[in-house]
C-alpha cells in the first residue's frame, strides 16, 4: 500500500511538472474555431490564439488528418473538438508514455487502466453525437482525455472514476490544466465512486459513455439515461475493441425498449490498427 501511494504521489508530481508552470495557454471561446484548411494555418492560429508548442500541434494535426481520412472523425464539431483537445497533457499522467499521446495505440496509464487511442475515442464520441447543452456522463475517467474531448462539445460533463488514487491524479491534471489556461475543462465535474450506480443527483443524462469492462449493463445507468438517450460501451480487449451502442426508447404507451447494436449500425468495417501519417499517407500495420 505504501508503495502504491508513493507511486501515485510521484506520478502526480511528474504530471504537474509536465505542464510548464510558466506557460499560460489562452482559453478558446465556443465561437472560435481553428482553421482546418492546412497544417500551417492551423499551427499558426493555435500558436497565436492558444500558445501551444509547434511539436504537439503538428502531432495533433497529423493524427487528425489520419482520423478524418479513415472516417473516425466526420463532423465539423468533432473536428474542432479533436483539434482543441491537448492529449499530451493527459498522456503525461503516466510519465513513461508522455510522448505518445498522439499515437494510434492505446497507452498504459498505470493502475491497470489504458488511455484509448485517438481513433477509438473519436469513433465513440462521434457515435454519441453530443450536442451543446447535452448532459453527458462518463464512467471510467482514467487518463481524463475522453472527458476533455467531450468538454469541447458540451458544457455539462460528469465523470466518475472507481480507483481512488487515479481519480485524484486525474483531478490534479484537470486543475493544473485549467490553471494553465485550458479553461474549457472547467465544465468537467469529477467524482471518485463506483460508476455502477451512476450519478443520480446529476441525471438524467442525454448520453452515457462507459469505458470499463462489464459483464452486463448496470441497470442504474439505463435508468439514468433519458428516453431516446444513447450509451456507448467498448467491449473486448484493447486494440480490438468493438463498441456497443445502446439506445433507450420509450414508446407512447410508456413501454421502454433497449436495443443493442454495433456502433457502425452493423456494418463491418475494416480495422485500421495503429496507423500513423507518413508522407501524407496513412501508414499502419495493414499497409505493408
Amino acid at each position: 500500500m505504501r508503495r502504491a501511494i508513493t507511486a501515485g504521489v510521484t506520478a502526480l508530481f511528474v504530471t504537474l511538472l509536465a505542464l510548464p508552470a510558466t506557460a499560460q495557454f489562452k482559453p478558446i471561446r465556443v465561437d472560435q474555431t481553428p482553421p482546418m484548411d492546412s497544417k500551417e494555418n492551423y499551427v499558426d492560429w493555435m500558436k497565436a490564439n492558444r500558445g501551444e508548442s509547434e511539436k504537439w500541434l503538428t502531432q495533433r494535426w497529423n493524427r487528425y488528418v489520419a482520423a478524418v481520412r479513415v472516417g473516425d472523425i466526420k463532423t465539423d464539431k468533432m473536428k474542432r473538438a479533436f483539434l482543441l483537445t491537448p492529449r499530451e497533457v493527459f498522456a503525461a499522467g503516466n510519465p513513461p508514455v508522455k510522448e505518445r499521446g498522439y499515437e494510434h495505440a492505446f497507452l498504459d496509464m498505470g493502475y491497470g487502466v489504458t488511455m484509448s487511442g485517438p481513433h477509438l475515442q473519436s469513433r465513440m464520441t462521434d457515435v454519441l453525437d453530443v450536442k451543446r447543452g447535452d448532459r453527458v456522463l462518463e464512467i471510467g475517467t482514467g487518463s481524463g482525455t475522453q472527458s476533455a474531448y467531450l468538454a469541447q462539445l458540451t458544457d455539462q460533463v460528469y465523470t466518475i472514476e472507481i480507483i481512488a488514487p487515479l481519480a485524484e491524479r486525474t483531478r490534479g491534471v484537470y486543475d493544473k490544466a485549467i490553471a494553465a489556461g485550458y479553461e474549457e475543462l472547467k465544465v468537467i465535474k469529477t467524482k471518485q465512486a463506483d460508476g455502477y450506480y451512476g450519478w443520480p443527483e446529476a441525471g438524467p443524462f442525454d448520453k452515457i459513455i462507459v469505458t470499463c469492462g462489464i459483464d452486463h449493463i448496470p441497470p442504474p445507468l439505463l435508468q439514468q439515461l433519458k428516453p431516446g438517450g444513447v450509451m456507448v460501451i467498448p467491449v473486448g480487449p484493447p486494440g480490438a475493441q468493438r463498441v456497443l451502442k445502446v439506445v433507450k426508447q420509450v414508446a407512447a404507451d410508456g413501454n421502454i425498449t433497449v436495443t443493442r447494436e454495433d456502433i457502425y449500425g452493423g456494418r463491418i468495417v475494416p480495422f485500421v490498427p495503429f496507423t500513423k501519417l507518413v508522407d501524407g499517407e496513412v501508414k499502419g500495420t495493414h499497409n505493408r
Binding site: G71, I73, G112, A164, D215, P238, V246, G266, R267
Partner: protein
C-alpha cells in the same frame, strides 16, 4: 587437477567406478531442483502475469542444457581438466542466481497486452528470458560435467537424474500447499542446498560445504529480506490481472486465501463487485429491487472474478429471471436438475430458487469444493448452499458423472463454466475444455429424461464470434449422435449481443406451445432469437456478412470509412485539409444493398440455418476463423486462426489478442526450431572435420538422439493434456505425469544396464514395444481415463501412474544405452553432443505438442512419439559403430 581445500589436496574421484551414494543423491536433488524451478517459474508467471509466457520463458531457458553441451563438446579438454572448479562454480552460483534472477525479473515485468503497441515490452520479455536462463545454465553445467565424468556408468547417473527429477516434481506439488506463489522459489532452493552439500561430501571438499552454507544463507536471506528492505515486490502481479482491480477497491477485503497445487485461490469482498452475467437490459425497468452487495469475487491464480452469490432474500430473487441462464426453467417446472459445474454457485442458487425438486451438482476442482464445504465464513455468506437438503454433491467432473449415472434429469445446466465474468485481455491460453466436447454433450443429452432440457450458456462477447459457433456445431453434432439426423425441433437458441448465448436442447423436441413460450420470454427480455424450430434466417445476409468479416481482417486496399468515403481521398496531398466522408459519397449510387444490423447475431442465425438444413461446411470454409467442433481429441476453444492464415496475421496482431496464446505456441516452435538447429550445428560447424572426423555413424547418431529427445517429450507433454481427462487439473496432471514418467524411466534406465551386453538384439525389441504401446494408447486411452476420472482423487493418481508405467519404464532404456555405448566406444565428444541434441529437441518437441494437438488431436502426439521410437531402430545400429581401428564392444 585438484583444488586446494582446507584439508589439503583433494583426493581424486573416479565416478566411473562405484561412486558414493552421496554422489547419486546429489545428482538426483540438483536435477530435481531444475524441475522444481521450471514448475515454480511457470507458477509465478501464472499468478503474476500470463501462464503461456511462462511456458515460453521456461522452454527457452531449457536451452541452457543445449548450450552447455555444445560449449562442452567444443571445449571438452578444458572441462575435463577443470571439472571440479566448473562444478563448484556452477553449484555455488546456482542458488543465489535463482533468487537474484527471480527478484530482478519481478522488477522488469512485461505486459502482454502492450506487446505489440509498446516497443519496450519486447525488451522486457527478452530480459525475463535472459534472467531466468542464467540459473538453468548453472544447473545444466553441473549435470553436463557430471555426465562427462561418469559416462561409462551413465545408466546409473541417468537413473539418479530422472528419478530425482520425478520425485522432486511430486515433492514440489506438495510444496505448493506450503508456500504461497511469492515464496515458491524456496522449494528449489532447499533442493539445491541439499544437493550441493551432498556433492561436496561426495568429492570430500569441506570448504565447499561451508561455502554452500554461506551461499544458501545469502540466497534465502536475500529472498526474504531484500524485498521489504528495498520496497520491491517478490511477485509483481500485473495491474491488468483481475485480482489487481479488486485489490484497488477502497473497501476490498480478502476473506479467503488458500495455496494448493490446484491453484492459488483468493476470495474478495467489496461493494464494488457486481455480477449479472447475461442480464437482460430490461431488468433496469422491471425489477423491483436489484440485489445489493450480492457477490464476492473468486480469483484463481489472480484470474477472475467468478462471482460467488450470497443467499438472497426472497424479495431479490426475481433477479434470476432476468439472467439468460434462466431459460430452461421457463419451460420446466419443479425439475430434477443437474448442474454440471458448481463454480461460484450461481447456477446452483438459480436451480434451487427456480423450484427444483432436487439439484445434483458436480465440481471437479477439490480446492473450490473444499472452500464451499468447509469454510465457515463462506458457508455463512452462501447460506451453506451445498448443505441444502435438496443438494447432492458430486466431487468429480460433471461430464464423467453424466456418463456413468443411471439417474435421469429434467434439466441439465452447463453455464459459463471455468469462465470469469469480465474478459481479461491477454490471458487466453490453450486450455482443454473437456466439459464442452461432443462426447460430453452426448453424455449430458443421454442423461436427460424424455422431454428433459439441456441448457448450455457461453459468453458471446466475440465479434466476429468464435466460441459460440463452435458450441453450436458441437451441440448439433452430439444431438444427431443421440437423436438421429433430423434435429430441427430439438433446439432453441437465445443470445444477447456482446453478452451471453444460451442453447437449449430438448429430448424428443420442443412442442409448438413451448416454442411460443420461449419466444415470448426472449422478446420480454430483449434477447435476440438466434434459432427456434421453424425460424427463418435472412439468407441474403450471408454474402455481405462473410465478406465483411473477411475484409475486417484482410481488406486489401485503402482504409474505408464507415459511411463509404472515396478511397481516392487517401492520395490527397499531406498538408491539405482532409476531405471528410461527407464529401465522399458518389451521387446516384445506393449506399448499400443489404446492411446487416448486427453481424454477430446474423452470422449466428445463418450458422444455425446451415447446421440444420445443410451446407455448413461451405459456410465454415469461407468463415474467417476455424470453427471445428470440440471433441475429446481436440477440446479447445482456441486455435481459431486457420493455419493457412497464420502469416497473414503477423502484421495485425492486435486484432487477435485473444489468440496470442495460440500464436505464441507457433512463435515458441519457430524459436525453438532455430535454437535447436543452431545448437546442433554449432559443434558440427566447429568440429565436423576435426573433432568428429574420426567418428563413424555421426549422422545416424544425431538422428537417434533427436528421435529420443523429440519422442520422449512429445509423449510426456501429450499425456499431460490427455490425462486431464482423468485428473481435471493442469498442474496436477503435469506433476503426476512428470513424476511418473521420469521415475519409471529412471527405473528403466537402471535396469537397462543388465542388457548392455546384448543391446544389439535386445534394444530393437524395446523400440518396437514402445512404438506399439504408444500407438495403442493413442487409440485406447480415452475410455480408460474417463473411468479413472470417477474414482476418489488419490486413487485417480495411482491409477494414472499405473497406466504410465509400461511405456515410461521402457522409454528409460534407449537414452542411457545409447549414451553408455558412446562412452564405452570412446566417442567422448559425441557423448556430449548427443546429450545436447536430446535436450534441444526436447524443447522443440514440447513446443510441437500443442500444435499437433490443436491441429490433429491429442492421440496424434502419441502416434508421433511412437513413430519417433520406431525410426530410432536403424539409427541405433549407427550408434554402435566402433571408432576406426578400435574393436567393437560386445553389444
Amino acid at each position: 587437477m585438484a583444488l586446494k581445500a582446507s584439508a589439503g589436496i583433494l583426493p581424486d574421484v573416479d565416478f566411473d567406478n562405484r561412486p558414493s551414494l552421496a554422489f547419486y543423491l546429489s545428482v538426483a536433488l540438483i536435477a530435481g531442483c531444475v524441475i522444481a524451478l521450471q514448475i515454480g517459474i511457470m507458477r509465478i508467471f501464472s499468478v503474476g502475469s500470463w501462464a503461456h509466457f511462462g511456458s515460453l520463458v521456461v522452454s527457452l531457458a531449457m536451452f541452457g542444457f543445449g548450450l552447455t553441451s555444445a560449449v562442452m563438446c567444443v571445449g571438452k579438454p578444458w572441462f575435463e581438466k577443470h571439472w571440479r572448479g566448473a562444478v563448484k562454480g556452477a553449484l555455488l552460483l546456482f542458488g543465489p542466481m535463482m533468487v537474484a534472477s527471480n527478484l530482478i525479473a519481478q522488477q522488469v515485468p512485461f505486459n502482454a497486452i502492450f506487446l505489440v503497441s509498446d516497443p519496450v515490452q519486447k525488451w522486457r520479455l527478452f530480459a525475463n528470458f535472459v534472467l531466468y536462463f542464467l540459473p538453468f545454465l548453472c544447473g545444466a553445467l553441473y549435470l553436463g560435467v557430471v555426465f562427462l565424468k561418469a559416462q561409462k556408468t551413465f545408466n546409473r547417473v541417468y537413473f539418479a537424474d530422472l528419478a530425482g527429477s520425478g520425485a522432486c516434481g511430486l515433492l514440489f506439488l506438495l510444496a505448493m500447499y506450503l508456500f504461497r506463489p511469492q515464496n515458491l522459489v524456496i522449494a528449489p532452493l532447499v533442493l539445491w542446498f541439499l544437493g550441493s552439500l551432498l556433492w561436496f561430501v561426495a568429492v570430500s571438499d569441506r570448504r565447499g560445504l561451508i561455502q554452500t552454507t554461506v551461499a544458501a544463507v545469502l540466497a534465502v536471506g536475500g529472498h526474504l529480506a531484500l524485498p521489504p528492505l528495498l520496497d520491491i515486490p517478490k511477485i509483481a502481479v500485473s495491474d491488468y490481472k483481475g485480482v489487481a482491480y479488486a485489490r484497488k477497491f477502497p473497501d476490498a477485503e480478502r476473506v479467503y486465501e488458500r495455496s494448493t497445487p490446484f491453484g492459488y485461490m483468493e476470495i474478495y469482498d467489496s461493494s464494488y463487485l457486481h455480477f449479472a452475467p447475461g442480464q437482460s437490459d430490461n431488468a433496469a425497468f422491471n425489477l423491483p429491487e436489484m440485489p445489493s452487495r450480492a457477490y464476492r469475487g473468486m480469483y484463481i491464480d489472480s484470474e477472475g472474478p467468478s462471482g460467488i452469490i450470497k443467499q438472497l432474500p426472497d424479495s431479490q430473487t426475481a433477479y434470476f429471471r432476468f439472467l439468460m441462464m434462466y431459460y430452461p426453467y421457463v419451460v420446466k417446472k419443479n425439475p430434477e436438475t443437474f448442474v454440471v459445474q458448481f463454480g461460484g454457485g450461481l447456477s446452483t442458487a438459480m436451480a434451487l430458487r427456480a423450484g427444483s425438486k432436487s439439484v445434483t451438482v458436480a465440481e471437479g476442482n477439490p480446492m473450490v469444493l473444499n472452500a464451499f464445504l468447509h469454510d465457515d465464513e463462506l458457508k455463512r455468506f452462501t447460506g451453506d448452499i451445498l448443505g441444502d437438503e435438496r443438494i447432492e454433491v458430486i466431487d468429480y467432473e460433471g461430464r464423467l458423472y453424466a456418463a456413468r449415472t443411471k439417474r435421469k434429469f429434467d434439466v441439465i445446466d452447463l453455464a459459463l463454466a471455468d469462465s470469469a465474468g469480465l474478459s481479461q485481455p491477454g490471458g487466453f491460453a490453450i486450455v482443454e475444455k473437456f466439459s464442452y466436447t461432443r462426447e460430453a454433450m452426448r453424455n449430458y443429452m443421454q442423461a436427460l429424461k424424455p422431454g428433459g432440457v439441456l441448457a448450455v450458456t457461453l459468453w458471446n462477447k466475440e465479434e466476429p464470434p468464435k466460441s459460440v459457433l463452435k458450441l453450436y456445431s458441437t451441440m448439433v453434432a452430439a444431438a444427431r449422435d443421440v437423436e438421429g439426423q433430423d434435429v430441427a425441433d430439438r433446439f432453441f437458441v437465445g443470445a444477447s449481443y456482446l453478452s451471453t448465448a444460451t442453447v437449449l436442447f430438448k429430448r424428443g423436441g420442443f412442442t409448438p406451445a413451448e416454442v411460443e413460450t420461449l419466444r415470448k420470454h426472449t422478446a420480454a427480455m430483449s434477447f435476440d432469437e438466434i434459432y427456434s424450430p421453424g425460424f427463418k434466417a435472412d439468407l441474403s445476409l450471408l454474402e455481405p456478412t462473410l465478406k465483411g468479416y473477411h475484409d475486417q481482417f484482410f481488406y486489401d486496399g485503402a482504409p474505408q470509412d464507415p459511411l463509404g468515403s472515396d478511397p481516392a481521398l487517401e492520395r490527397a496531398p499531406t498538408d491539405a485539409a482532409p476531405a471528410g466522408p461527407e464529401g465522399g459519397d458518389k451521387e446516384g449510387q445506393p449506399q448499400t444493398v443489404t446492411v446487416p444490423k448486427v453481424p454477430a447475431t446474423d452470422i449466428g442465425r445463418l450458422w444455425w440455418h446451415h447446421l440444420i438444413h445443410g451446407g455448413i461446411e461451405q459456410v465454415a470454409n469461407r468463415y474467417v476463423f476455424d470453427t471445428r467442433i470440440l471433441t475429446n481429441h481436440q477440446p479447445y476453444f482456441a486455435a481459431y486462426i486457420k493455419v493457412k492464415d497464420l502469416l497473414k496475421f503477423t502484421d495485425r496482431l492486435e486484432l487477435v489478442q485473444d489468440e496470442w496464446g495460440f500464436l505464441l505456441l507457433w512463435a515458441t516452435l519457430a524459436i525453438a526450431g532455430v535454437a535447436a538447429l543452431t545448437l546442433v550445428l554449432f559443434p558440427v560447424v566447429f568440429g565436423w572435420r576435426t573433432i568428429f572426423s574420426r567418428y563413424p555413424g555421426k549422422f545416424g547418431t544425431m538422428v537417434y538422439f533427436l528421435c529420443l529427445g523429440l519422442g520422449y517429450i512429445v509423449v510426456e507433454v501429450g499425456l499431460i493434456s490427455h490425462f486431464m481427462l482423468a485428473l481435471s487439473n493442469a498442474t496436477v496432471s503435469a506433476s503426476v505425469l512428470i513424476t511418473g514418467m521420469l521415475v519409471f524411466s529412471g527405473l528403466g534406465s537402471f535396469v537397462s544396464e543388465r542388457f548392455l551386453g546384448r543391446a544389439r538384439t535386445f534394444m530393437p525389441k524395446v523400440f518396437v514395444a514402445i512404438g506399439a504401446l504408444l500407438i495403442a494408447y493413442g487409440f485406447l486411452l480415452d475410455p480408460v481415463l474417463d473411468a479413472v476420472g470417477t474414482l476418489p482423487y488419490a486413487l485417480r493418481i495411482i491409477a494414472c501412474l499405473a497406466i504410465i508405467f509400461p511405456p515410461a519404464f521402457l522409454m528409460g532404456f534407449p537414452m542411457p544405452t545409447g549414451m553408455t555405448m558412446l562412452g564405452r566406444l570412446g566417442k567422448d565428444h559425441m557423448f556430449l553432443w548427443a546429450w545436447g541434441i536430446n535436450g534441444s529437441f526436447s524443447v522443440l518437441g514440447a513446443a510441437l505438442v500443442p500444435i499437433i494437438s490443436t491441429s490433429f488431436g491429442l492421440p496424434a502426439a502419441l502416434l508421433v512419439g511412437g513413430i519417433a521410437y520406431l525410426v530410432a531402430i536403424p539409427a541405433f545400429y549407427r550408434v554402435l559403430l566402433p571408432l576406426p581401428g578400435k574393436p567393437a564392444i560386445a553389444a
